[in-house]
Structures are given as structure tokens and as C-alpha cells.
Amino acid sequence: MTLTIPFRPSAPGPTAPDPTAPGSTAPSPATLARGEVRLDGVTKVFGRGASATTVLADVDLRVAPGEFLAVVGPSGCGKSTMLSLVAGLDRPTSGTVGTGGKTAFMFQDATLLPWLTAAQNVALALRLRGVPRGERGDLTRSLLERVRLGSHADRRPHELSGGMRQRVALARVLAQDAPVVLMDEPLGALDAMTRDRMHDEIERVWAEAGLTVLFVTHNVREAVRLGDRVVLMGSSPGRIVTSRPIELPRPRRLDSAGVAELAAELTAELREEGARRGG
């Protein structure tokens, strides 16, 4: 199979991420509003020559400030790669990525540092952001209160449940004080009940803080439950298949008829796309 990779020289454009400063992709304020995310013709190829794999092909995406965008797709569709590019952890092979302000990242497993307590994990983000020592204590406490973990501040990660660990990670994301938050299947490892509760938690925090969220998941229902808009991605090569605004009123429930119906529709669409690609 031969793939035509649309190549665009990536040099021009003030929106190109600076790979030396992850999380601080410097956009020009003139073009991007705070909290806005923009991908233009982004292609990512891993490897070279015969073993080269196109993970993302010519992806265009705009995320409005304060939007909750859910990205769904089968594994291998490049959705995690897309987040890495937006976070500035990796550079696109061609095309430009820009964000209005810094980005914060929430990983699939909470990735708390096991030698630090819950509070210290949050405080580390503050410290690395340059918050002076005197302010860190109070700020850490209020962040943990916001995810309702105030009474567990001095627990170590292994003494917390999976859901609690993700709530600490959520507090740490807030500590980064970035307008754009990237979440890479953050609830994948949780049981259904905890997951349901985390949906409420993430939705509440998102609304309170006015964040832009890019939430990657392989669960279509979860995407419909959370997103203002759902973007469906297809694989080999990874690209955006369709983008669908979700107009169901909030708060939504994962098991409501509206969510189930829309999810079924989107799943059908994904399946159709897969079949068309001979997948």
C-alpha cells in the first residue's frame, strides 16, 4: 500500500511548538486565543524508509477556548500521538500545532510519584511552575479540597484507590494552571462505578475552571457523556473521520437513553469507516 503524505514545510508559522519547552508551545497571541488549540495539516511519521509508519495524516483540528472535546478512535489511530504533539512532547513531521497558553497532561495511570504523598505530588507541580514556597501549602490544600481529597493529603499513592489517585492527578493538573488540559484515557483502568464518579468530577472541575479539555478515550459512550463535541478518528493512517457536536443537556448520565442512542450512532459510523478501509 502506498500512502501519499501531503508534505508542508513546517518552518513558517509562529504556532510551531518549541520542543525544548514542553507544555509551553508558544503561539502568537494574535492568532490564538487563550485556551484555543489548533492543528493545521499535521502529519506524524515514525521511523524512516521502508519501516516508516504514518501515525497521523494531514490532521486539521480546532478546539475553541473552554470547549470539552472528546476524541474517540480504535487503538493505533494516533490519538495519543496527537496529544503528545499538542503537549509539545513531540514534534509533527509536517504541519503546525499551536495552543493558546500552556498545557497540562493527565495520564492513563495517574503517574503519581510513589515517594511523595498526595499533597507533595500536587506541590511538586506548583514548585516546578515557580510558585513560591510560602504559597504552596495553602494552594495545595485548596486544590486537594477541590477534588475532595482534603482528608487524604498525607497518604502515599499506594495507600489510595485507583479513583483517588486519579483525583490527585486531577488536582495536579489544576496545579499546573494551564488553560488547556490533555487527558489520555485517564479513566481506562478504573472500575465502572469509580469511572462514573470521575466523570462528574472531571466535568465539575472543567466547568469551574473554564478549561479547554482534550479527552482521549476508546469508549464512545464516555465521549458522548463528557464532550461538547466528539471527534471520531480512524486508523492506518490516523486521521479525523468526523466531528459531531453533542447537544444533549448537561448534566448527562452515562446510562441515559440519549447518550446510549448517540453512542450507538457514532459506533456504527466508526464501524462503517473501518469496513470501508478494509479493516
Partner: protein
């Protein structure tokens, strides 16, 4: 189990608390018993082993396999040990000299090993150049360094320190190196996401993550330092400065078997105490990180 109930009761707001959370908290607390009982649980097998060893030793002496001046029995050695510790004016200065040498040599080795380990971890050239050399040095019996050390530094403290450092530093360097090499990539990624680059990544993420392996390296380094030091003190006897090694050597020359065995017991006990300290700190660190195998 009463402590289970208190662990659960502590988690206040039931509406928010995940049901799974109750268990990890419970297991974390259950392992803590009364301190006295846990000391006893750790001690009695040791006491039993020592009793068995002394009994076997006494039995061998009773068979008359070797004459008593070559192999004295436990009571004779015990009396000698008692005299040594409480009466002999040379014992404490000798022990202090030896422990000072061990401390100086070990600290030197820790400094050299740590700097070397971090440097090799960070530089590809250094890794290719001296990475395997470090492991090579580690397998080299340190006693083989003494002839060269004596040529270079004469019969002196420096010769002893030199060999102790050469014996211990490679283990310490390897400990921190493998710790750094095995830092989970997720942690480095997190560091990048939080904006920690360069030395800040090392300070807040990489080095703390490498700490358990580093402590294991220090522990092994200590063992090598102690062995090298004992070999050195038998070979390099600095005039008018008694040490545990030189006293051991004199005991053999003067045919004082009880004293010889008493000194060997002292060497054993010092080594065990140091190892216990390292093991305890390693275990505390592992359990704080939720890695305790118990």
C-alpha cells in the same frame, strides 16, 4: 481485628470515598503490630541459630579434633572477648582506628561512585568508554590492588584508603547507574509535562526514583569496603597504630587463638550491624513507596 475497623472509620465522607480505598488503607495498617512483639519475632530465629552454632562448636572442641591452643571452646573465647572489651587497653583504639578508616574510605567511595555513576548515566561517550570497566573493576578482588598501592603510597593510611575506595566505588556507581537506567519512562514524561528539564528533572524525578537501587549499591559498596579494609589491615600494618586487622595478625603470630577468634567475632558483628542498618533503611523506603513484599 480491631484495627480494621478504625482504618475504615477514618475515611470520612462516604459519598465521595471509593469503596476500593478501604482495603489499601486497611492492609497498610494491619502490618503494624506492637513494636516489642515484632522485635521478638525478628530476634528468636537468630538466637536459635546462634545457640545451635555455639553448641556445634563446643561439640567439635569436645571431640579433640584440634588441641585447645589451636581451637579453644566458646567459654574460653567468651572470657577473652569480655577481657578484650572491658580490660584490654588496645581494643578500643584499634576498633576506633578501623572504623574511622572504614568511614573515611566508604565516604570517599560513595562520593566517587555517585559522581561517576551519574556521569556515566548522562554521557553516552563515558558509558561506552568506562561502563564495562566499572563492572570489571567490581569483579576484581581488591586484595590484588595492595602490591601496587604499597608501591605507590608506601605502608600508609593512604594505601589502605586507596584500595578501600577502589573496592567500594564500582558497586556504588553501578547501583546509581542501574537506578537511573530503570527509571520508568512514565516518570520522565511526567517530569517533561511538569516543565522539569535538565538538572531539575534529576533533582525531583530521576534521582528520587533511583534511590532504592542506589541504597542497594551503597550496601554492596559497604560490604566491599569492609572486606578490602580487613585485607588491607592484615597486609599494611602501620607502625604504632593498632587496628582490628593488625591485632588479628598479632594474635596469630603470638599463638593467641582465643583472642584471634574474639577479634573475628568483632569483625563479624560490625559487618552485621552495618548491614542491618542498610537493610532497615531500604525496607523503610520500599514500604513508603508501597513496594514492601513483607
Amino acid at each position: 481485628m480491631g484495627d480494621d475497623a478504625t482504618a475504615t472509620g477514618g475515611t470520612a465522607d462516604l459519598a465521595v470515598v471509593d469503596p476500593v480505598a478501604v482495603d489499601p488503607a486497611g492492609t497498610a495498617r494491619r502490618s503494624v503490630g506492637t513494636p516489642l512483639r515484632s522485635v521478638w519475632r525478628a530476634t528468636w530465629p537468630k538466637l536459635l541459630a546462634i545457640t545451635l552454632f555455639i553448641t556445634a562448636w563446643q561439640l567439635v572442641v569436645l571431640t579433640g579434633w584440634r588441641p585447645p591452643y589451636a581451637l579453644p571452646g566458646p567459654p574460653t573465647v567468651a572470657r577473652e572477648l569480655w577481657d578484650l572489651v572491658l580490660v584490654d587497653p588496645k581494643f578500643w583504639p584499634a576498633l576506633v582506628t578501623t572504623l574511622r578508616r572504614a568511614a573515611v574510605g566508604f565516604l570517599f567511595a560513595a562520593t566517587v561512585g555517585t559522581v561517576l555513576g551519574i556521569a556515566v548515566a548522562r554521557s553516552r561517550v563515558l558509558r561506552a568508554g568506562v561502563g564495562s570497566l566499572i563492572t570489571g573493576l567490581q569483579t576484581m578482588p581488591s586484595i590484588t590492588w595492595f602490591p601496587l598501592a604499597i608501591l605507590l603510597f608506601g605502608i600508609s593510611e593512604t594505601a589502605i584508603t586507596f584500595v578501600v575506595v577502589l573496592g567500594a566505588a564500582p558497586s556504588i556507581a553501578n547501583g546509581i547507574l542501574s537506578g537511573i537506567d530503570h527509571v520508568p519512562p512514565a516518570f520522565t514524561r511526567l517530569g517533561a509535562v511538569l516543565g522539569a528539564g535538565g538538572w531539575r528533572l534529576y533533582r525531583y524525578v530521576v534521582l528520587p526514583a533511583a534511590l532504592p537501587s542506589y541504597v542497594a549499591g551503597l550496601n554492596q559498596g559497604w560490604a566491599f569496603a569492609w572486606r578490602s579494609l580487613m585485607a588491607g589491615e592484615l597486609l599494611v600494618i602501620v607502625a604504632s597504630r593498632p587496628s582490628v586487622g593488625s591485632r588479628l595478625s598479632f594474635s596469630q603470630e603470638f599463638g593467641n587463638a582465643p583472642q584471634l577468634i574474639a577479634y573475628m567475632l568483632v569483625i563479624l558483628v560490625v559487618g552485621m550491624l552495618a548491614d542491618t542498618a542498610f537493610t532497615a533503611s531500604a525496607r523503610r523506603m520500599r514500604s513508603r513507596r508501597g513496594l514492601a513484599s513483607d
